[in-house]
Assembly symmetry: C2
Homo-oligomer: 140 residues x 2
């Protein structure tokens, strides 16, 4: 199994609400509005939104309650950009569960929840470069 | 907010067990074994493994029970490669929750759970090309 990821699917309870949230953040999808799934192209991978119950059933698991232990992160190029992005997400309807501040690992970050409570950390890590195309590469 | 993802973190209950599982799949990390987090470079993004409770606390959320509604997918180039990859994961200790079969969306896939019950769908989607570098691009 190669070291790569093709797709991440976030289970949602209201597809139109979830799509509208990501569109307010500036994201765009070519998926027709009448489809029951939405695909966003993210660099060389895809992020999709799909009904939470259907996702559990399709994965052969029982849907739990609340946070299942997966967090997404969006790295930016400065602490100021963390502040701006968290403010933008809050304006788009996100709930901020950790306001931007210095972190124990020497960076600066905050966390917001999307409308289905999936956490996004917005982080500036001074050791991780964010390339012009948005890709990040581990040091060393 | 640009349409991109820097990092996905999977919460785990036993870091050494989780690392060993992904290493049995052929993945490699430069993170020293004594660290309490592990980073894998995945194309232009990173996948990390971190303590599940710490991840919840750091995200400002309460840890739920079971599946929280996030599934990862690994796309391959043929149905036979789905079978091979699911068999490889099972040999590495994964639990297969959906054996490979034709899907309702016209592809062929199966699902396995990693040691912390994070689902991975292994899929052949005839409409999605997997490039030589592993990247996938939506049609249209």
């Amino acid at each position: 199994m190669q070291q790569r990821l093709s797709l991440i699917t976030l289970g949602v309870s209201d597809l139109a609400r979830a799509r509208a949230f990501y569109e307010r953040l500036g994201w765009r999808s070519n998926t027709p509005a009448e489809f029951d799934v939405i695909f966003f192209q993210l660099g060389g991978m895809v992020l999709s939104l799909w009904d939470r119950e259907s996702l559990a059933k399709d994965s052969g698991v029982t849907l739990g309650s609340g946070f299942g232990g997966v967090t997404l992160a969006y790295n930016v190029r400065s602490p100021a950009e963390v502040d701006e992005t968290i403010a933008e997400a809050e304006s788009a309807g996100a709930r901020v569960t950790r306001p931007p501040s210095a972190t124990f690992w020497g960076g600066y970050s905050g966390v917001f929840l999307d409308p289905d409570a999936h956490p996004w950390e917005v982080a500036h890590n001074p050791l991780w470069d964010v390339a012009a195309d948005g890709s990040v590469t581990l040091p060393g």
